[in-house]
């Protein structure tokens, strides 16, 4: 082939343009990634800053040493209570929600129990502004004298987490054909054993993903925790918000506690990215 061939020249030109185009797109993407990563980086770095380093101009973008003073002090500022209560509430809530949702999701997904109406009713609960539920729930909790108890939080978290988990698990069950259970049923298995031995092992990934989402939702939840607790129960977001609103904000301690608070969410994104879209769209996109 002749180097001076016109077609070859054109081809080279096009390749060059493609390369420049690609480079430009890479740069643009890098810019966006850095832009979105920066606030997270700021949380991380803040946890290791000393007091004076927050009130410094120009702002300090790098720290030389990773000291854990902030973490230790934050734990004594109510942080340890916050972490413990968040773990208790999130764990109990997750276990209860997943067990209930596993069966309800199976009932709705496999047997179409209650038809479309029941399914849509459950879905619609996810769209409710939670603030609307705060008032009546508060009055009911006060009447039952369970304000400021774990029970109040665990109960109120059903409102969002149970419909969420039911829909997610229902989606995973609908992915499986009913026929896979027939053999077991013909062999004389009970309905429950057929479900437990055949279907359940196949949807374990879905159950795990639902559990993780529910855990993170309960862990991050703020509004209900703010309204239904006082001093007996203080989840991490409530502790944080009080430190933020208090006099003389303790930036370092707050940042350290913030870093602890975002761990579950970050882990979920890093290790279960594959299911993120599916979870966040309540199963509408299988991803």
């Amino acid at each position: 082939m002749n180097i001076n061939d016109k077609k070859y020249q054109e081809f080279r030109k096009r390749e060059k343009r493609k390369k420049i185009n690609n480079l430009f797109q890479n740069l643009l993407l890098t810019f966006f990634v850095l832009l979105f990563a920066f606030p997270i980086y700021w949380i991380f770095i803040g946890a290791f800053k000393q007091k004076g380093e927050f009130f410094h101009y120009p702002p300090i973008f790098l720290v030389n040493q990773f000291r854990i003073d902030n973490f230790i002090r934050s734990l004594s500022l109510g942080g340890s209570k916050g972490v413990a209560d968040s773990i208790i509430v999130a764990c109990i809530s997750t276990v209860l929600v997943v067990i209930l949702a596993l069966f309800a999701g199976y009932g709705l997904g496999r047997f179409k129990f209650g038809g479309q109406n029941l399914s849509f009713f459950i879905l619609s609960l996810l769209f409710l502004p939670p603030i609307i539920a705060v008032l009546p729930l508060f009055i009911i909790f006060r009447y039952l004298a369970i304000v400021d108890t774990y029970l109040a939080l665990i109960w109120s978290y059903f409102l969002v987490n149970l419909p969420f988990a039911i829909w997610l698990i229902k989606g995973f069950i609908e992915d499986l054909p009913e026929e896979i259970e027939y053999a077991a049923l013909v062999d004389g298995y009970s309905r429950f054993r057929a479900f437990w031995k055949v279907t359940f092992p196949l949807i374990i990934p879905g159950v795990v993903v639902s559990a993780l989402f529910v855990f993170v939702f309960a862990w991050n939840e703020f509004l209900f925790a703010l309204m239904f607790t006082r001093s007996n129960v203080r989840t991490l977001p409530v502790v944080l918000s009080e430190l933020i609103g208090g006099h003389g904000i303790q930036w370092g301690e707050l940042s350290a506690l913030s870093l602890i608070a975002i761990i579950p969410g970050v882990l979920l994104v890093v290790f279960f990215q594959k299911y993120l879209v599916r979870g966040l769209t309540f199963g509408a996109i299988k991803g």
């Binding site: 606030p39 069966f103 502004p129 009546p136 944080l240 930036w251 966040l280 769209t281």
Partner: protein
Amino acid sequence: MNYLIGRNRFARSITLPSVIILALTVIGPFGFLLISSFFDWSLTVPAPPRFVWFYNFGLVLKDTRFLNALKNTSILMIAGIITQSLLGFIIALLLNRNFKLKKLAITILALPIMITPVVLGFNWRIIYHEHFGPLNYVIRFLGGAGSSWIADSKLALFSIFLVDTWQWTPFVTLILLAGLQSIPRQVYEAADVDGATSWQTFWRVTLPLLRPMFVLVVLFRTIWIFKIFDPVYILTGGGPGIATETLSLYTYVSWVKYWRVGYTSALGIFQLIIMNIIATIFVRIVMKRRGT
């Protein structure tokens, strides 16, 4: 069909526990909401609740603070949906190529979605800080003057919008990226064979095929922004004044500051109605598109 016996009974017995719990958590309270909205009832006044027909609803409609909250929520919604869809789509297009570190890029971008809302509120307060915040530093570095962001009543709502956009644009990106990746290669090959330019392919093939994803994005963002509470509470608390008060925040204030049961119930009912209207419009749009 032996194995079909007991099907319904079994289905009922495994589904009912959840349904009962949801009913207890939802129907009871919302029935209460509906009833109490007809009463003049405050927890700070010793007088017993008094039945006042639609008095509370009239109060809500005449309440400038409610209208202000409705306006703020609508602004956040419209600005947020437009910006996040556009920006999210651009990033999704940039990600929809083959390159090294693609997974890493997606992971980093997805992080904001799952960050504890209270934490990001606090974190952005530092970023927005008038004197020591990195944002003003960058602006001054570029020759600008910087501003007080959340403390400036003109910029406060914009600041909230920025935080919401930072957190939720990645969500839009993930959905649209999933959409882009689900378009089969053959469709593009067919367009190529037919001699379509890349521009034509984009407008005639990619965009129409992504339409359901965009509908989903708009639906989810509408619902989420409609109930926005945490970032606003932490960043501005609705202030300065009532410049950033959203519907959820005003409902909260009207409840914890004044303990007006009847009035707050009416506020809640109004939000239910608005949400219902939005949902209905959406269902109509989606159905219509599918019908044609």
